[in-house]
Subunit: 75 residues, 2 copies
Amino acid sequence: MKKRLYQIVGKRLKAFREARGLSQEAFASMCNLHRTYIGGIERGERNITLETLQAIAETLKISPSELLKEKEEDV
Amino acid sequence: MKKRLYQIVGKRLKAFREARGLSQEAFASMCNLHRTYIGGIERGERNITLETLQAIAETLKISPSELLKEKEEDV
């Protein structure tokens, strides 16, 4: 297996969150997750489920597939 | 939350698998998962992780984001 998908998602989440000027704490509270869990996802340490991916995408108001892209543009 | 993402993925997996003429059993063996687990995913009963999504996409030789699309074309 090449690069792990959840590591790509972690980087993308961090980029989207920061582009919106949100702290990990503020974002975590918006999607009813814990700040340390968001930190773990962003560091690529968490193999999240599709339910969590969907909740994060809905909080960011983007399509879940936007979180799977490796490119850094369009954040 | 609207339609659950893992239910969309289940339908897409079934469509891609059948388009390739693979049984659940054959496909399961190709991605080192159990046939009943593949059945559960296809029925939208399994909230799979990104690792499993990636393994399925790699077995189908498609991008993981292809499995998140609601449309039925391009299978």
